[in-house]
């Protein structure tokens, strides 16, 4: 982060207004602050609307706060989560500023129910910032899972990969600047859309073309806004152990934000989504048989070997 950027954030954090809106002190505390993720990435909470009570208020279509006792509110929130009544959770909203590698952005953007403004490399010149995994995250292809990671690479192999990634990214960026016909790094002034009318005296290749030489580990950034229901859906998929490590760390940082923002909703989410499990009809039949003390059998269950293993893992057998 540049000193200018830090000063801008400090200026936002120094401001203070009076409002009649639902306000969450624990979230205000970290508002605008940078929460680092990966080697150069971050999340920042930029704005929010609503709190736990706003979920209750919407479910009751109330004239006032709609809340009763805290305990009753938490009960209603748990009830809504359990019965998949998702619309009251859609009544809260949160907005983030996120800096993330492009290959992570490509997974993330598949969540279509969010609003996004991405920094444009058609307008502006990207920074010399790219992601290189730490040795402890440099894993081999999984031998059992076609889309996962297996053991960590031996130190020498990891070092070799890191060198390749770093050298290629540095060279790509050098050539990117060379194509642009400029040794200048991007300045803040370069950015403004408002400035679109100004004459730009660049003699090099158009930015919208030059950018194609950058690799997928370069960082991009965006504003990302979503409602509480879709935020939890994002977290349930991306904070999951099956998600790629590089997106999971963003989801985990955002789950901490969820806990600050709407603690009762976070509790229900943890119980019913993150910690819960969906049992199929076949799996349920097996569980019932086991509870009845009957012998159960993988073949007779109708499940595949892989699914059987997943179910037994879920049941702690």
């Amino acid at each position: 982060m540049t000193p200018d950027q830090k000063a801008e954030i400090d200026a936002l954090r120094a401001q203070s207004f009076t409002t009649r809106r639902a306000t969450v002190p624990a979230l205000e505390e970290i508002l605008y602050d940078v929460i680092p993720v990966l080697d150069h990435g971050f999340i920042r909470v930029i704005d929010y609307m609503g709190d736990d009570a706003a979920v209750v208020q919407a479910a009751r279509v109330s004239y006032g706060k709609g809340t009763k006792k805290v305990r009753e509110d938490a009960g209603l929130i748990a009830y809504l989560m359990r019965h998949r009544h998702s619309t009251p959770f859609e009544m809260c909203e949160i907005k983030f500023h996120v800096k993330l590698p492009i290959f992570v952005a490509r997974q993330w953007i598949r969540h279509r129910t969010a609003n996004v403004n991405e920094y444009s490399a058609r307008y502006s010149i990207l920074d010399r910032e790219f992601y290189v995994p730490k040795p402890e995250h440099m894993a081999a292809q999984s031998a059992s899972n076609r889309q996962g990671r297996g053991d960590v690479l031996p130190a020498d192999k990891a070092a070799a990969v890191m060198k390749l990634l770093r050298d290629d990214a540095e060279r790509s960026y050098d050539h990117y600047l060379e194509m642009l016909g400029t040794g200048d790094e991007r300045s803040e002034e370069d950015r403004g859309l408002a400035a679109a009318a100004e004459t730009v005296a660049v003699t090099g290749l158009a930015r919208e073309l030059a950018r194609m030489n950058l690799s997928l580990n370069f960082y991009t950034q965006w504003y990302w806004k979503t409602d509480l229901h879709n935020f939890m859906h994002f977290l349930s998929l991306r904070a999951d152990p099956h998600a790629q490590y590089e997106i999971r760390v963003y989801a985990e940082a955002m789950a901490d934000v969820l806990a600050r923002w709407v603690p009762a909703t976070h509790d229900a989410f943890t119980n019913y989504r993150l910690g819960g499990a969906l049992l199929s009809a076949k799996a349920l039949a097996v569980v019932k048989a086991m509870l009845d003390g009957q012998a159960v059998d993988k073949t007779a269950s109708g499940m595949s070997a892989r699914e059987w293993a997943e179910v037994m893992a879920t049941l702690g057998r």
Copy 2:
């Protein structure tokens, strides 16, 4: 509105918090207040996120406020509106509590990009409140427009219609209560979802069935939340002269809210959407010919008689 409801609203309006978030004093002023629409309906602003500057901030993916001078910001907002860059407008959000006749709700709900929680007549008993148009809005079917209104009905006819509407609605409601096996009107206590576990000693017809006897002019209510872009899309369709009067009055009341909330965006919206016009390729060719001083001809233009008339009206000919 009952005294209880009024007290709840007053309690909300009396509260005051400190926040670092973007805050709009002109909108805070009316927050939670009832803005009456039609004979028993209303809109109330319940919450909001962002302001004009938040649009600019998102367009620039900035670390800080992102705003420059007010004039430059307004220029950027106009540029975004003109070039249909809609995503920065999606970064603001507004939430309303609305009370409206069911037949209006049926048009309104077709806007799918909003979040809605409607008061449920499966859970609760609806109030004895229905819409009856005023004589000056009691119009005959249009002779030229299959979906519009023509002249106002003569006073005696209007009075006859009002009596039919009123008598039928009263009778429907009496029978609704009779089917429910209760002379009780709904109490606040009847409402709570949280109370779902309590035993309800009703011997009459299930609420989810009895409600089918009510007519489409009965009032319902909901929480409705949408982003600034989709809010303007709603307004452009529903504040339009072709929209049915009974939904247009809601849109007009909401357009006033827009002006309070985001004045620069409201100006651009008025200029480019509400007051603008889309000319087809054929219409553009006619305009160019007229500007060249050439004679133009309805038949040669390739337009239908109706479309020709619409274009000439747009051009003030």
Copy 3:
């Protein structure tokens, strides 16, 4: 259905074309046919895109059919369903013509991820058709569930309700026609949007106003189109025992269509969605303890009495 409508359907069913597209004979068999639901309603399949193999093809982003053996395809479909990989299911599409009571339409329309064209009572005059429940579906308000039905009403009470519903609907419709200033019932000619330019010589109240006198049990109709993923989501909520009977019968008729259309997907859907159950973290802990032969206790589980009962019912205890 009028003889004209029947003739139109027969004409569609008589046509036959040659196509290279994925085609499902079992679905072609019933294409365009009326499948009756409730007393005057129906569903009709109007068009479809894709089949089970199209799900596989999309998951593999293949150049050709993408399918291997039938058994492997079914395995992949089950895998996708189990791991909530929903996008391949979005690659198939189905379109229905549905006739349904307005109060059912109001629940149905809350599914926002579908395309809808509804018959417009602003343009056209509705038919004299309304829903009256059969005595065996005339249930009392549930004593334990605030939004459900309890016991069936005694015969005399049911008959009284039926009479009220019928008389009120008939009267509403008579007055509707009276307001419209016409004894004419709707003719086909009345309908066409294309005819919007014709002069309509109606002297009565505008249709967009008169319709408000009709009650919520009158029938409307629409074209409804959705993708396979969202179709299953609709079915999982609306074919559920907690759904109101009057929408559930539509969902059940549509589930039969699903079985004809995509049998492998239907099997997976039945196993993982309709017949499956979501266990919370707390419920899972209880199941594990039971499997370990430990005593479990409602209070210690952290579940409410209602949730405990639901979990025990799921486990068949």
Copy 4:
């Protein structure tokens, strides 16, 4: 394209089924065929639902075809387009297989109202295929438009850029394979999700990590499905002269598909969208004044210099 891929396509094109569904011979003709775009990309139509008549049928919520004379149908379609009645156009659907550079995919995916299945580089190894612009598309940054292209680069500069792009991409790909610990190029067998259970004996870096070394001009591919309304919205933005050349050529190829599929809709789209123009309230006032023979003035109009120039260009002044 490999011989295997060609054979798969030929097999699809050789198949023939009988259907009662709306069928479009002109589209069947090119179904599954590769339509080349850029140096290694393509579009292929994989499936479709509906035709011009289906738009009419949905607008009329008809029991049968709903069509009258061809001329009347075209008139209704033009009416719907002119008045932005978009829902009937949502009743048709089309599915493409697209091969495209990643930086184009990143723009394309911002259209959220489509269904997408992308080839996964977490599962599979990408091909050695990347985009290099032809010299005639190698343009300098525009001097007047911050996001556009200006003059074509001189031949020597263009050649230098091409060499940089090509060398960097080749080297990235070599290192990608090296990290994967395999000289093997991807085989078809590598792909199948169904095969996820097989043991994969790869000792190199996980695929989900290695891919980050590839640059944004590498090709990816996906299945992309959308409805007719959103398809036209995509075309109106991406076939526009302001769109980047590399996505515009895809949109142009797809506009040809639109013309084959729904000719009446294509005509209306060309007239009202592609060839039309939106005039603001201020621009309309200027046009009216000009038609009245009054002098108009840039400053008095309230428009910026840029907007004034745009409006005059639209009017051919």
